[in-house]
């Protein structure tokens, strides 16, 4: 195959006709495939469903002298705190175990920063003129939306193969209105990048102008290798302390992609002072989280070693899906030279950059052919990708055979959108399929 940019206009026209033909074929199948969200597949849920039977006896509901069935222990059962400390490499006193959603704990931190202030805030953020938040992009739309929902100004920071562009971050934090940064340090969503040691150390040693600057360290994929060995990571809590920033980071994780996505347990880890401060604020909104489910999880997962063993089994279910995605891209798109992507070894996504200015159009075509993808732009603040190029592929949910079909459709749509753009640039006049307006030349 020849790269698009090296083709003659006539070749491009023929390629476009062929792609349109393929597209009509896909449309006729009436598909309904979904690669929009990092949802575990049914086989993964079945893999962990023994968790339903590890705690069935009333007598087994006590831990460390606490009856998990009753009120109390706002910070979580001690054994659950020890579990998370083992997984994250911090101390159990630095953890606060939550309910099914770590996103909710992140929201709680930001929400309370706005209404009450963080531990080192001079005043609640809602009293400040402007609050800015750093959003390494492409990144996770739900992170960005939390800060956006409170009216923070979202500042895009470029992602590099080693993590957020730290030169930019170090410059930006000189502005006292810049109050924090969203980070997914391991298998970043969507790029699947592991932050380099240098990046992690530069983050931990930041000297922001805002005394209450907060690193929102979403370690969502901390044990989520689907290929190769477990990649160890530094304890960000003690690292920040080492650099004189003990209160600067809140780390988050959950079992959403370890046990049940809808019914797991979550954790927030930070300095002991921060945990004490947040516990006081959380105590206004609840008496305690679901400790029965905490105990169920500890009995099932046991510790980091037990968790890693389970994650290997998840990996065996996930790896073929990622391989399928990458194989189809390698075969269908790579030779055409108009898109690139990263080959992750863990996490839940493949991040693809297609020809600038064509991502929205490609995904609109996908939707017409019955394939749902994460919205183009979703990986950028305000849902606007300035290059209209990044697309997040979430291969975990569909079975491999459906995934292959979905990827074929996706590649057809990528090609069509790219060819339309190229042909428009050269000639100015290809009509979009399934779109009333002609593409502007």
């Amino acid at each position: 195959m020849t790269a698009y940019r090296d083709m003659t206009t006539e070749d491009l026209r023929q390629a476009y006709a062929a792609a349109c033909n393929e597209f009509d074929g896909w449309k006729a199948l009436g598909l309904k495939l979904n690669m929009a969200r990092g949802k575990p597949a049914k086989l993964q849920l079945d893999l962990v469903s023994d968790i339903l039977t590890v705690l069935t006896d009333a007598a087994a509901c006590s831990a460390d002298g606490v009856d998990a069935r009753n009120y109390g222990e706002l910070q979580g059962l001690k054994c659950a705190r020890e579990y998370w400390a083992d997984v994250l490499g911090c101390r159990w006193e630095e953890t606060f175990v939550g309910g099914a959603s770590s996103l909710t704990l992140m929201y709680d931190v930001i929400s309370k920063a706005f209404t009450h202030g963080l531990r080192n805030s001079k005043q609640p953020w809602c009293k400040e003129e402007t609050i800015k938040f750093l959003c390494p992009s492409p990144g996770y739309d739900r992170h960005f939306r939390i800060t956006q929902s409170f009216g923070a100004e979202l500042i895009t920071v470029k992602m590099t193969p080693t993590g957020p562009d730290m030169d930019a971050v170090e410059e930006l934090v000189k502005d006292p209105a810049v109050k924090g940064i969203w980070c997914v340090p391991k298998y970043s969503n969507p790029d699947g990048i592991i932050y380099s040691d240098e990046t992690v150390h530069r983050l931990a040693s930041l000297k922001p102008a805002a005394e209450d600057f907060v690193i929102m360290w979403d370690n969502a994929y901390c044990v989520h290798e689907f290929e190769g060995e477990f990649q160890p990571f530094e304890d960000i809590i003690s690292l920040c302390a080492k650099y004189g920033n003990p209160d600067m980071v809140y780390e988050f994780a959950s079992t959403s992609k370890i046990t049940f996505p809808g019914a797991g347990i979550s954790v927030m880890a930070s300095s002991k002072d921060n945990i004490t401060y947040m516990t006081k604020l959380m105590g206004v909104q609840m008496i305690s989280y679901d400790k029965v489910n905490q105990l169920r999880h500890v009995k099932y997962l046991k510790d980091r070693a037990g968790t890693l063993e389970l994650m290997k089994r998840h990996g065996k279910l996930l790896a073929p899906k990622f391989h399928m995605v990458l194989d189809v891209l390698d075969k269908e798109i790579a030779p055409l030279g108009f898109a690139d992507w990263i080959r992750p070894l863990g996490g839940y996504f493949v991040s693809l950059n297609t020809m600038p200015g064509t991502a929205k159009r490609a995904l609109a075509l996908c939707a017409q052919a019955g394939v749902t993808m994460t919205d183009a732009g979703a990986t950028y603040p305000y849902g606007i990708d300035p290059n209209d190029s990044n697309i997040r592929i979430a291969p975990s949910l569909p079975p491999v055979e459906e995934l292959e079909k979905a990827m074929q459709v996706f590649c057809t749509c990528l090609k069509m959108a790219a060819l339309e753009k190229l042909l428009n640039e050269r000639t100015g006049g290809v009509k979009n399929v399934g779109n009333e307006e002609a593409v502007l030349s």
Copy 2:
């Protein structure tokens, strides 16, 4: 026995000496008894522990075509919404099923009112100069604390035997800064009062100046009779709609005192428009609540009828405790004429009003003798009871035999505190036991 007010000073002195003697006896026992919180007892937890075994099979985790184990269904499983609609008498579309804590849902509503505004708010409450909230008192300290934590001004409204003083409420809501009222309509915390039909209708038909006035209707004890038949209650959602106030009420309930206090499910019910509005805001902070636990609860409780049957069994465990409390009070305190209390038929508390100016002192004495009670004043805004008189007794946790002892200690302390006050009034000079300072005359 003679009422204290009819005794001679010498009789009072003798009574005080006898009480001090009793007190020393209690202190010597080194007791550690707790009547501070409405915590269910171990026998109640054991009663419902079969819930641990109703959902152990992966294949049983689907409901209405939804796999409860995976992400999704932010508003809750349909069967869980139907369950709550049956219990509360509203429609399932008017419900939003949450996690283990209804308090958290209440906090969410108030928190979002401050940061984003309610559906009919002109602007977020944090932008307003002053926010006032009506607190029928004695009431629930955790309610008051939520609004206090956001800086609202708490306005005490007197509780009457038929609910909040509605003449006062109707007058107060003419102030546009008054944004809402906390209500526990059935077996109110702590009085155990059921709001009369008239009160409920006057609340539903309020015409507040604030267009976003909200009734926080905490139906915490909606099925919580421990004696006598189930007392039906009106559906506050449709009642408010009938009076032209469809968006004025948010109702809350949970299974905290039906199944496990720490691991139940909760509900928020309101107009369909309010639920749609709140769902959008809640969608920023989470993907979904624990649907596995929702399904577990529906399988275990089935419906309102199944729940009421279970509540009768809870009642059989609770009734002897309430009887013990009331019997000891009848015997030890009633003849002395310095305190009164209400005899509840449901809920979790006995509300006692002792001689004004002596509640704090009585509970300080209790603490010295090893009996922990809810702090005096806790049932009033800011923790300050202007009469220093109301004491909340929570008899649910201790076994009956411990409860008897705790109540004996409590009565001794009530008597001592009352006698000290009377003697001071008459003579000005009894030294407090276990207190360095002389009581001021």
